[in-house]
Homo-oligomer: 724 residues x 2
């Protein structure tokens, strides 16, 4: 199917004329599929760019490549895989048995102290953890509960005595535990939880108590069945003063598996996914624990009940304590990105083999990835998945620097928090969206549990609202952006600020020099080429994306300015009126971060062919973002109508160019059949299609092929009226 006769030399693009034969080449995995891509024909030009799949795979593995490769060797083994259709009880049992294997082989111990058998390796620990998602998300999240939440709370909120006495049992899984933070009445608003831990100086004990039903701990992994202890978050009260939320180590079950006196709970039973995890509820009726069970790194109570903390501000103390648990968000960002990569590997492999409808031929049906719509459904999502992969590695490096202590200032921690709050929502929503699109793109086959997509989709659903509801997290990002913005202008003199406000009012505030003004945009009317030329410039893409974030934040800040002078209720109403705009600005900020990481990755790519293809993919990501929000750019005078049209035209062109490289780009994610485990991505579809095409070819050649009625009628007519 590859037409080399009309191949054109690979040249630098200067126009997007719709009839010009283009310059994309064949990728290594493409010898057996059509590379026709519709209007702009793409030819198998051996002089065109080719992806070096091996080096790209290495680049995508990132900073902890060796850990990931070792983890993938493990996750390829059947004993770690989820089995679709297990009953909830059997799935729970299987996940717990798999947990024991992880405890035994040390895969989950990297972050723990070396003197206890760990490696003090925080980044590597998360990298290894993320890889579990291809085995079974239930196993991953249950391991996350045990070692990433329960264990990490003891590690990061406790002190030496807690480490030495509690961590060994947690690491070995001798003590399965729960992380009892969330309450049924307060999902994402942890500061408002109702559970109390009141110090009794008489007995030197804390009394853990659930004062009302909305304060039951809820959705707690390991709570329904396996957990024998829990880190319980509660309002620490001593001497009549509430010092805010602290963490306490609380035994909850005895050796027989029965709740200890005063502890109660319920099984959450069946969920939309992750049914290998025994989520449940916990409540406490004046349960007494020793004073020393307070995990006292950031706040301690002396025997006499006096409270001390290394952090004076209760607010800052709360956020510092919660900040030590940021790794949950870090790892969800990475796992969600891996799930997206897996989904696209399955869907793009299938779309390269599946044939449906004849279009340009009388006998051969088209491979469905050759349809424009199918490309539009899958390739932009592939670009986003690449952006997320590169952004995640940078994020993980930042995380490792903070937790290893290499770069651990207050500002570093705040930046890490903001990064987590910006990236986790985007990647978890992207995973849900991509798994769904991949499922639909595979039709009925995508709906079969055996082909993995529906199961992963069901499991990853909750990633959008746990470890912080995505909408709430984006508001944290927006608040940080607002704070940074107001700091910037706090330093400016009144004159500069006033000028800025005036510029805002006219809706024409331009930042930097990458863009021309609206009046100039008219000048490039008629020359799509010049428009495209500008759009391909990374500086222009950066400017478009940056400008939008800054302008949106400035606009909201200007609306919110009167809030400081309003009564509390009116101020809240004013803030609420900007909630949607703030969330959109935060999303734009996260996307800019991803674009920047992608661009750095392109810059560091050395193989020329790979670099060219990645540049197209980065452009598709960047211009895809602009295309999605092109109304904003038009309304705010950043793009002319002409250039807005060029964005879509050039996006279409990029997609057609990337089509022949699609298989290489998913193969570079590096998953084997043992990770995919989807029959439709195994080659079975190609075998079936080939068998059918062989059958019809042999039938035609045999002369026994039935004549279509239409042809037969025409034939008869001719016989009846030989003169016609």
């Amino acid at each position: 199917m590859v037409d080399t006769a009309q191949s054109a030399a690979n040249t630098t693009e200067t126009d997007i004329g719709p009839t010009r034969a283009s310059d994309a080449g064949t990728g290594t995995g493409l010898t057996d599929v059509s590379v026709d891509t519709g209007p702009i024909r793409v030819f198998g030009d051996p002089s065109g760019p080719a992806v070096d799949v091996d080096s790209l795979r290495r680049q995508l593995l990132g900073t902890w490549a060796d850990v990931r490769l070792a983890a993938r060797e493990m996750t390829a083994k059947p004993e770690f895989h989820g089995i679709p259709g297990l009953s909830m009880a059997d799935h729970r049992t299987r996940a717990f048995e798999q947990m024991q294997r992880l405890a035994d082989n040390g895969h989950v111990h990297r972050a723990f102290p070396a003197h206890l058998g760990g490696q003090d390796d925080h980044g590597g620990n998360i990298a290894g953890f993320e890889e579990l998602v291809t085995a079974d998300p239930s196993l991953q999240i249950k391991a996350g509960v045990q070692w990433g939440l329960f264990g990490a709370a003891v590690l990061h909120l406790g002190t030496a005595v807690h480490h030495d006495t509690l961590l060994p049992g947690i690491m070995s899984l001798e003590v399965p535990g729960a992380f009892a933070m969330t309450e049924i009445g307060h999902g994402s608003d942890v500061a408002s939880i109702g559970t109390t831990a009141t110090y009794d100086p008489q007995d030197q004990e804390f009394v853990i108590h659930t004062p009302f039903r909305a304060a039951w701990k809820e959705y707690i992994g390991n709570a329904a069945k396996d957990g024998i202890a829990a880190v319980v978050f509660a309002q620490l009260i001593t001497g009549g003063v509430n010092h805010g939320v602290h963490a306490f180590y609380v035994p909850i079950r005895d050796a027989s598996g029965a709740f200890l006196p005063g502890v109660g709970g319920e099984d959450d039973d069946l969920k939309g996914g992750l049914n290998g995890i025994d989520n449940g509820r916990l409540h406490f009726d004046h349960v007494r624990i020793p004073r020393t069970n307070l995990l006292n790194r950031y706040g301690d109570v002396a025997v006499d009940g006096s409270y001390t903390s290394p952090i004076a501000s209760p607010g800052r103390r709360f956020f510092t304590m919660l900040g030590t648990l940021v790794q949950g968000r870090v790892s969800l960002d990475g796992s969600a990105t891996q799930a997206s990569a897996l989904a696209l590997t399955i869907a793009i492999t299938y779309a390269s083999q599946r044939r449906q409808f004849t279009a340009g031929s009388d006998t051969d049906e088209e491979v469905i990835l050759d349809y424009q719509r199918h490309q539009r459904r899958l390739l932009p999502r592939l670009a986003t998945t690449y952006a997320q992969t590169f952004a995640h590695d940078e994020f993980l490096v930042k995380f490792d620097a903070v937790f290893s202590g290499a770069a651990d200032t207050d500002e570093d921690r705040q930046d890490l928090e903001t990064l987590a709050a910006a990236l986790k929502p985007l990647s978890t929503w992207h995973a849900i969206d991509t798994l769904q699109e991949a499922r639909e793109a595979c039709g009925g086959a995508g709906f079969m549990a055996a082909n993995r997509l529906v199961g992963l989709r069901a499991d990853l659903d909750i990633y959008a609202t746990f470890e912080g509801d995505n909408n709430v997290l984006l508001q944290l990002v927006a608040k940080r952006l607002l704070t940074d913005y107001s700091r910037k202008f706090a330093k400016a003199d009144a004159g500069a600020l006033a000028r800025y406000v005036v510029k805002q009012a006219t809706g024409r505030a331009y930042h930097g020099s990458g863009l021309r003004r609206l009046s100039q945009a008219v000048a490039d009317r008629g020359s799509t080429a010049r428009s495209v030329g500008a759009l391909r410039d990374p500086a222009v893409q950066r400017q478009l994306l940056t400008d939008r974030v800054e302008t949106m934040i400035a606009d909201v800040a200007s609306v919110l300015r009167p809030a400081t002078h309003l009564p509390k209720k009116e101020a809240a109403d004013l803030f609420n009126s900007q909630q949607n705009a703030l969330i959109e600005a935060a999303r734009a900020h996260g996307e800019l971060l991803q674009w920047e990481a992608f661009t750095r990755a392109v810059e560091s790519t050395t193989h020329e062919g790979t670099k060219q293809v990645l540049t197209w993919l980065r452009d598709l990501f960047g211009l895809g973002l602009v295309e999605k929000r092109v109304a904003w750019y038009l309304i705010h005078g950043r793009l002319s109508a002409q250039r807005a049209l060029a964005v879509t035209a050039y996006t279409d062109r990029l997609i057609a160019r990337l089509r022949p490289h699609a298989l290489d780009l998913v193969n570079a994610f590096g998953y084997t059949q043992d990770h995919l485990r989807a029959p439709i991505a195994s080659g079975i579809e190609r075998e079936r299609q080939d068998e059918a095409r062989d059958y019809y070819r042999r039938l035609r050649e045999s002369g026994a092929e039935p004549v279509p009625e239409k042809a037969h009628k025409g034939d008869r007519k001719k016989k009846d009226h030989p003169g016609q």
Copy 2:
């Protein structure tokens, strides 16, 4: 919480100034929840509009209200409900037992002939069928397989002898059957199926044969376990001529449940949802059936093998045969809309009771439906669900007219097909999207199987690709629009057409008079009021929506014009280059149909308060569509930047106005707790929140409330430095 002191008279809107107190009133279900809506405060003004929930409920029930009410009485009963967490085997058994109840009580017999115990009532049959979705989508779709596909194929493709001999057993469920159309290698391309039915005049039999693996029948309900017969679609070959796809009645299992000789199959096993249905594969190895087992309404083979048909054109015959099965798409449109209504009832009820974060108060947390973002997530989807409900009723009336024979011309059937292909994709995608947003809007509680959303989401997933893949269906719509467009211009003289093309080229083709030109758009700069005034005019909304469909189709037609002169391959490539644009135009056409049905429903509403609220909801739907595609309107000069901003500003205002009516609007869907069966929508959340607030109120009043550390420190400081 209802503030009547500041109530403002209900006036006709002429501006959208952000500070003016607005004019929405309390709905009947609202006495117990806050009606503050953020920046534009909405007050419980008794003179404002109020929804008459009872009459609105009657209106939403539509033309077959009595059938629906009777069906809802049945679906309220526990014996018809799905049970989350059943094993696949148990779920299959339960669904089959429920099917027997439906056969026994006659609920599924309405469409069958009166002389066989049916009612010849096609519209009522679908209305009743749709209601099953709230009981268990597995039951619904399994019933659809038996009576809506297998039975309907015998009814519509067979003739009197088939009706009298086969339908009684099908109706009573004595003969459970399969509808064996789809093949593993040809999902939506039925014309290309590989199964053959070759006539053997010697024995007067058809030989049903599966020539290769891709021609296995796949995803066939009742095939894995229950089906003892099947309607098999195959290429009818007689005398060496292929007369195209026809339907054959083929026994597949004996009394013991074993496959008959020559028949084979596999179980599809676990799916992403609908696991009460035993989907499976079937294949045939030269299976012989009597000549008379051909369902011969549209094509027959005589003893001697000669073929006759009342429809001469093989293409038209094929589409006529498939057209008799349109009811699948009709009923999915209705069921998907009901699932969306159910999801929104759950999520909006919960959001009216759930409190999270204090904003405008020191003690009381906000009801989450008072947050702007939450309103933005749910209320536009509510508007779409209303539009779909009204559109579906009109669709069903059309269906009934065709199938009752009241209006059954070729054109009627084509219109019905187009309507089905336009509406089914929109409503099934909307259901998936709405169920997901509702799930996320309910946080962790939404992920619990007990709260229904995840189960419905999993079951309805496949609605997007079965009974015609949504993307394929929309292309059918687009082709119809293109055909209509070319017919229109076939009648025009060359001069008119040429003028039209010139207008297109300048990108300024205006249709009708509802909109001003770009140059005039500048004139309303600075007056948002005038912009909003225009947007509220239904004629303007209609014009905006119609214009977009027509212009998109005209643009594509202009690009495709050269295709007739191109070689097949080049023509296919050209068509492929417009695939995405065509699908978007078809979507816009479907949305316009929904908007028109909504508008007719508003016009026919007599209760003034209800009419006012429905008008706002219709405006939210219409302007929401414009807002989503505002870039198109900007680029094509239909809206000025000023007016584009007004669309969003007015949408925000409509959402705030509708907020106090949200509960009334979902209550009008008419589902009881027996249909919802979601604990979070039962009032339990309000009880929990009230209990927590009571606890804190009593604690404050008792004087025993612990002092927050911050206040305590301030206190100590004052004591230490009494002079400050």
